[in-house]
């Protein structure tokens, strides 16, 4: 017979650790965290820069510092067991979890509930189909980050970065600090996909040019990268002939987006959202499969780990209540549809008890805009509106919806969208 746990958590990064702590606080007596890496903390352990924790811990921390805080919260709690070097191979609908580790071999554990916190992984060169040979020297920014910050190797000396996501920007500074020359950052969008403070402190501080609305049309080199050809793109993101120029480099780092890692969710038959690429969840972070919860980057890619922890605490709380048979009785279900400039909204639906329930909505917009009003509407009726001085696709919007408002959601759906302010 496999051992029975109230909550089994797949992944020991910030989401898994925060979920475990919250499950403990909400009365779960037996919690198990399974982590495939050699230690807990997930990607934070390689994100050695600061800027984490201002919202969640009210203090500015480095990535390892934030991970240390999360680990500290569950350490020495007999209710929480953690296992590293443990890969989850399969999760079944009856909540048995098949795992493997060098010390325990292949084994199963049984959960009353399961929380999926597998995080996300990077898009690779294959995903963006850049023409050229297959020389050495092409890395995802995160792989390079792990080499430089944890293993002690430099991937190269003369660097070009494709994509202006935060990891790419952070790596531009990191490589500069290690004595490398960062030649340029190339971004296909007409705006940056990273936080402004990262543009300023990681590119501008080191005089690294950022080419907006440009892309790499060819990677040169046979055994090792020798350079790239860059071209301007039109408003359909197609390279404009005649605008090409070459940049010499020995290394190309790709920072071209993140994909939630949902192989386990998919094989379970959990419904995924077309745009977030993560499970469709309600405000408790319960997926389409009862008793299965999900939180963090596996649900949708976040820009701040603080929001990952916030979301994981919700999942941990409700998984713990579920395991104890204490979930609030759902009276009706309301779909939350993203419309008019709002690209995605998590949760995608609300499972409301009588009298409503407070919920926090996390949204991303499709394009940058200034002075907009965000509206939650039921039909034509505006239930909640919020003035936002500026919105950007790279910065997630979080809006608290009080129980008194969700109590008014009597129909089957509401919409969240932007009302552009008339000039």
């Amino acid at each position: 017979m496999s051992e029975l746990y109230d909550v089994v958590i797949v992944g020991g990064g910030p989401a898994g650790l925060s979920a475990a702590y919250s499950a403990y606080k909400n009365g779960a007596k037996k919690i198990l965290v399974l982590e495939r890496d050699r230690e807990l903390g997930g990607i934070l352990q390689q994100c050695i820069h600061n800027g984490f924790g201002l919202h969640h811990f009210k203090e500015e921390l480095t990535g390892p510092g934030y991970a240390g805080r999360c680990i500290g919260l569950i350490k020495d709690k007999p209710e929480v067991e953690t296992r590293v070097d443990t890969m989850v191979l399969e999760v079944h609908e009856d909540k048995t979890v098949l795992a493997v580790s060098p010390t325990k071999g292949i084994y199963t554990v049984q959960g009353k509930t399961v929380i999926l916190t597998m995080g996300c992984r990077e898009r690779t060169r294959g995903a963006i189909r850049t023409p050229g040979g297959r020389p050495a020297g092409i890395f995802t920014a995160g792989a390079a980050q792990r080499m430089v910050n944890m293993e002690g190797y430099l991937p190269g000396k003369k660097i070009v970065i494709l994509g202006s996501g935060d990891i790419g920007l952070i790596m531009a500074r990191r490589m500069s600090l290690e004595g490398c020359k960062v030649m340029a950052d190339i971004e296909i969008c007409p705006f940056s996909n990273g936080l402004t403070r990262n543009i300023v402190q990681c590119l501008n501080d080191y005089n690294i040019p950022l080419y907006l609305a440009h892309t790499i049309t060819r990677i040169h080199g046979k055994d090792r990268v020798t350079g790239v050809t860059v071209a301007k793109v039109d408003n359909k993101m197609q390279p404009i002939p005649g605008t090409e120029f070459d940049i010499e480099c020995d290394t190309l780092l790709l920072s071209v987006g993140l994909i939630p890692e949902n192989e386990l969710s998919r094989s379970l038959g959990i419904k995924l959202h077309r745009l977030t690429n993560g499970p469709i969840v309600d405000q408790h972070r319960e997926t389409s499969l009862p008793g299965f919860y999900a939180a963090g980057n596996v649900v949708h890619v976040h820009d701040l780990v603080d929001f990952v922890s916030d979301e994981a605490e919700i999942a941990g709380k409700f998984a713990a209540l579920d395991a104890q048979g204490k979930l609030p009785a759902v009276q009706h279900d309301v779909a939350v549809e993203a419309v008019n400039g709002v690209r995605t909204c998590v949760p995608q639906h609300l499972s409301l008890p009588e009298g409503g329930e407070g919920a926090r909505l996390f949204m991303r917009v499709s394009a940058p805009a200034r002075k907009v009003t965000l509206e939650i509407k039921q039909g034509d009726e505006v239930l909640l509106s919020r003035m936002l001085p500026v919105v950007k696709p790279s910065e997630m919007i979080a809006v608290e919806v009080p129980a008194a408002i969700t109590a008014k959601m009597t129909g089957s759906s509401v919409t969240v969208g932007l009302k552009q302010k008339e000039a």
Binding site: N50, G63, L177, T196, I199
Partner: protein, 124 residues
């Protein structure tokens, strides 16, 4: 004295206002483009005495991992950051180390300590 204008993005909040700072002989005169007082303060600090945090790694002997991440305890003058990072490349410490332990005290005479970002246990 020569007046000079410098354009920069404020990083105090997600608004990212574009600030134009007027300098006279290198001295701060005025700023436009900010929407709040924090922006004005940022612009003034940024043109007179810009400061940054430094995060990097040092080698660690006998540790669970070969590198120890480190961070400056406070911000330091921006102009000293690259030199400090260069200095850290030749530093080696001995495991075990606790988060917050001082790795290099008063780096380059800036008065800023470089401390460990995490615990690092000894190997095995």
């Amino acid at each position: 004295m020569a007046t000079e204008k410098r354009v920069m993005n404020c990083i105090m909040c997600p608004m990212g206002c574009e600030l134009t700072v007027t300098l006279d002989g290198g001295k701060f005169v005025s700023v436009t483009g900010n929407t709040c007082p924090r922006g004005a303060k940022y612009a003034q600090d940024e043109v007179t005495a810009p400061k940054r945090m430094l995060t990097s790694t040092v080698r660690i002997k006998g540790g669970f991992l070969p590198l120890l991440p480190v961070v400056s305890k406070t911000v330091m003058p921006k102009g000293k950051v690259l030199e400090a990072a260069r200095a850290l490349r030749s530093v080696e410490v001995q495991a075990p180390v606790k988060a917050g332990d001082v790795v290099v005290a008063d780096i380059l005479g800036t008065g800023v300590d470089i401390i460990a970002s995490r615990n690092m246990a000894a190997k095995n």
